[in-house]
Subunit: 348 residues, 2 copies
DNA sequence: TTGTAAGCGTTATCAA
DNA sequence: TTGATAACGCTTACAA
């Protein structure tokens, strides 16, 4: 491996170098290389481009940022990048961003609101063009007020704030049809003949969780069924949380359950694993449904019934709002559609 | 949503503002806020910190970067962030980076070498502290020479280059025991009674692919078995590639196969899906093994036999090499261990 | 220990 | 259209 002593470390080629090599002023070089309203004489432009190529010049983005006072960085804040839901969303945002020449940088909170606040602050210092909060958000949390203040400052200095699927903060939000999707799911399940449900929710104050539970309940109600509060289990919002939750469940509670609805697929999969270690077969002994339709599901047997969230569309919508600088079509909600699979067969 | 006209856009608070508010010079403020060799009088320091807090000051990282000539950004270049292998690696690198106060930014190539080259160039312009290439790498590709030149320039300007599991370029590499892992896997499979294999590889020039195939073959040879070249199927290095590959396979080829070894789990899962649509049961009709032990596997039934790559360790090793500025312990190779599961039961 | 002043690599203003 | 020259926000000799 070429071990390089500080001595032979090469000074990076700067715009000044290019200008000198091309025999023009720095300003002309700048105008020729990095777009600007002004036009540059073709001949000079050629010379500058030539010199830049020859010297392998590449612009110092930080210096540009300082001079311009803005960047094209979009910070995507997620809870956990190893989670299939977030990594797919990241992929879709990145893809969409390309068209607008925006740089996306993904950053992880590990579900820590303090960390979220810190990050927003940091990105204010970086003059990020936008910050996208894709995590879940806690209703009524003490820190939420602090986060809100930080976001306001971020906006005040010219940045854009976009939230995904969380209604706990007064900023532009790309809404998913959480409650509608859950409602249609429970209706469909009722039509399949299911009557006795158990719901697996994330921590109680999680916004997305609440919406999905509420929608599920409403769908049941419309079918003349019920989801009593004691049939909603709150646990950590993760595979592990759900896994542990079903393990510690009373036998009679489980015995009285025909179908377990988890507020997202990760939890549904954790629940399935937990149920199986209890000796239950899916779906013969108990049915399971989730939410999100993460990519992982293509490999799950039996196929998991879920509600599909078109993350590709989420990415496009997020980026569109940032790029246009306008609050997207008012009230545009990303649709969510029920996908029935083998984990919830028709009941006789 | 608060629509903010450019008019009431607030000028960001700068170090100068803080210094003025604290009644000290800019340099003192700088020294007090952002570490420096020099010590600042406690009283003054307190005043500066106070002022900074009061004004919600946060440093402009770009300006710091310009002034210092370096950053603490590590660019992690992966093929696809929605791929479980890469997203787990990203998570592990990020976690490890925290301890050294390095900022990780993940960026995606979509398996395009051109793009990889562009990115390295861009990160040279950003004075990134390091660039980590975690994608696979093509042996002998024409563009590899170009990529190499770009990486050399990156290093020449003071950046560090770290490769993960690719031996096609002469830079510091965190090596996985690809061939050893595959060798032990095939030995174990031979011991279980398997005799007739089919290997599913990525595109022929992919380095990791070749190493794994070679190791697998060697393990068989040591057990007195063979993997003839015509039993190695090359396809796109992805779920879809493997899925398509097994679909188009001749019936007699498949009939003569007891076990399919895919060079990574994604492909193994794609193969399983493809085999199933052909009406084959896993493992009753045909056994399958993969490589990587991605997180997804915890939900796969039957459990997939694979070779575990400890990504957590990879992340630590990558970051350690960047942070220490030294080429890690010479020849340190990340171990890879066989994990036998139900997809490859003992054969009678 | 503090402050002054000169950079860092760009962009933007304003004459020429 | 081009080129001096002054920003941009920060760090860091160098002097005090």
């Amino acid at each position: 491996m070429p071990q390089r002593s500080p001595a032979d470390r090469v000074r990076p080629v700067t715009l000044t170098d290019v200008a000198r090599a091309a025999g023009v002023s720095q300003s002309t070089a700048s105008r020729a290389l990095n777009g600007s309203a002004r036009r540059v004489d073709d001949e000079l432009k050629r010379r500058v481009l030539d010199a830049a190529n020859r010297l392998h010049y590449t612009a110092n983005v930080q210096a540009q940022a300082v001079a311009r006072g803005t960047t094209s960085t979009v910070a995507l804040v997620v809870s956990d990048i190893a989670d299939a839901y977030f990594s797919s969303m990241a992929a879709s945002v990145m893809r969409a961003a390309e068209a607008y020449d925006l740089r996306v940088t993904v950053v992880v909170t590990e579900r820590d609101v303090e960390r979220e606040i810190e990050l927003v602050r940091e990105y204010r210092g970086q003059h990020a063009r936008a910050v996208v909060l894709a995590g879940s958000g806690y209703r009524h949390s003490a820190e939420t007020a602090e986060l809100r203040r930080e976001l306001e400052m971020f906006e005040a200095t010219g940045g854009r704030v976009v939230l995904v699927s969380r209604s706990d903060l007064p900023f532009e939000t790309v809404d998913l049809d959480n409650s509608g999707g859950a409602r249609r799911l429970s209706s469909a399940l009722a039509r399949l003949g299911y009557r006795r449900f158990l719901a697996l929710a994330g921590e109680e104050q999680l916004v997305a969780t609440q919406d999905r539970i509420a929608g599920f309940r409403q769908g049941l109600r419309e079918s003349g069924l019920e989801l009593p509060e004691e049939r909603v289990l709150y646990s950590e919002f993760s595979w592990e949380g759900a896994h542990a939750a079903v393990q510690t469940l009373d036998d009679d509670v489980l015995g009285a359950t025909e179908l377990v609805f988890a507020v997202n697929d990760e939890m549904a999969l954790g629940a399935i694993a937990g149920l199986r270690t209890r000796g239950l077969r899916i779906p013969e002994d108990i049915a399971v449904a989730g939410f999100d339709d993460i990519r992982t599901l293509r490999d799950i047997v039996p196929g998991l019934t879920t509600v599909r969230v078109p993350l590709e569309e989420v990415g496009r919508e997020v980026v569109a709002r940032i790029a246009t600088g306008e609050p997207g079509a008012e009230g545009r909600v990303i649709p969510a559609s029920v996908v029935l699979r083998e984990s919830t067969p028709r009941r006789n």
